[in-house]
Amino acid sequence: MNYTASRALALGEALRRTLGRPVEFVLVAGATAVLLGAGALAALALWRAGPLDVPSAARPQALVLAGGAQGEIDLGALQTALRRVATVASSEFVGRDAALSQLAQRKNLSSLGLAELRPNPLPDAFVVGFTAGAAPEAIEAAVAELRKVKNVESVEYQPELYRRIWLLGQLGSRLGVLLAAALAAALVIGVALTATLWGRVDPEEIRLLDLLGAEPAIVRRPYVYAGAIKAVIDEQTDPQLIAVMKGYDYRKVVDNGYVERLVKEGFFEKLFGSSVKAEEERKAKLAFR
């Protein structure tokens, strides 16, 4: 059993012992969950305290065109009537003059086209905003109700677009909740395990291991192994990527020559003693060339 294998066994043993004490484990996990929950609630409260910035795509809107000539309808009364409809959150008046001046500012609209529009004036309109996140059915019902309001000539609304956005939002929201739950569970288990294991670390043992020269075994394996590179390629599933990786000349980035020179000069034998000779020979056979 080498040091690395022993460490893996030691970790397995620690996990086995941890799970072998369910009461202690549950207590630590519970305490961790309470702490995390409190943190999450505090974060939520802070988030709710600030103004909600709903993305425009999640705010469904409709364009309500008023009927009749200018001056014939009471635009104020119409706006009030529009706001009374359920799920309508806002209504913004867009007068024909304002619309025309906006059109005039568009550079790609030719002066001829604008001249044609003038004798055929635009209608007064309202941009009606619905409650963010409202169900598509509720908004479509509200649109139907808007169409019935007096002096409303037509209502422009794209139900399919909002249905898709809403569906995506719902999916994202549910996936987010699931992901958050999984992350929280992993965090709780991870912190609980760490806390439990931490409580069992014997400082005297750590001091002794340091005294005996224990440390990761990587230092005595300075060669880059051919097997390591092959394993990375074998893990790929994309045939195109595999072809690229197999075609790459790894000698450009992997050079065991320096290590070989140190071995030849007896650097490691001088440092660690003659007992490393067999280890060097074994590892040299596995090195990338």
Binding site: E204, R207, A214, E215, P216, V219, L271, G273
Partner: protein, 223 residues
Amino acid sequence: MHLERVEKRYGEFRPALVGLDLSVARGELLLVQGAAASGKSVLLRLLAGLETPSGGVIRIAGENLAGMRPRARAHLRRSMGILPPGGCLLERKSVLENVALAPWVAGAALEEGMRRARAALDLVGLDVARYGTAPCAHLTSGQRQCVALARALVNRPALLLLDDVLSALDETSAARIIGVLDQFSAAGVTVIAALRSAAPSLPMAMWPARARALRLADGRSVA
């Protein structure tokens, strides 16, 4: 091993070691003597690479110890046998487990480590059949010292750094340990053993004549 003008200071306190020059050849048996707080343990800790000197240079096999990376120093310690003051044993672990820990850290197989541990315990005169599975907490201070010494010897080190090596040992056990250290030294292992000069119950005559003495007082080498 060469030490040139080695100093060690801890904060504002008086220096633990001052301007120490020392050369120790392979296979030499060096006895570092001095009263408490004379710098013996500090010297051994510096040689083990557990601390770095505040000044001066320590070279082991031509390598400057201070210039080595911590991982390389850890590897170097694997070729040393270190007996820290008090033994530094794992109280709840058995005698065999304590001794076998050193070969295990050095990468030996578990069975090989146990085999070596039994041999090392035999060498220091502890009855493996009787005490091998006993927790170290149940041992007398003399037996604990033997276990710690066995752990220092078990990896067949090139350098032995032994702090207060004969503490808690009776004359018979001490004579046995001195004999073992003499054997190791004769086989080419460099042995540096710290002894308290305030413990005159074990006379210097017990040590082989070729042993060299280094006397420290207030962190300085004295004649």
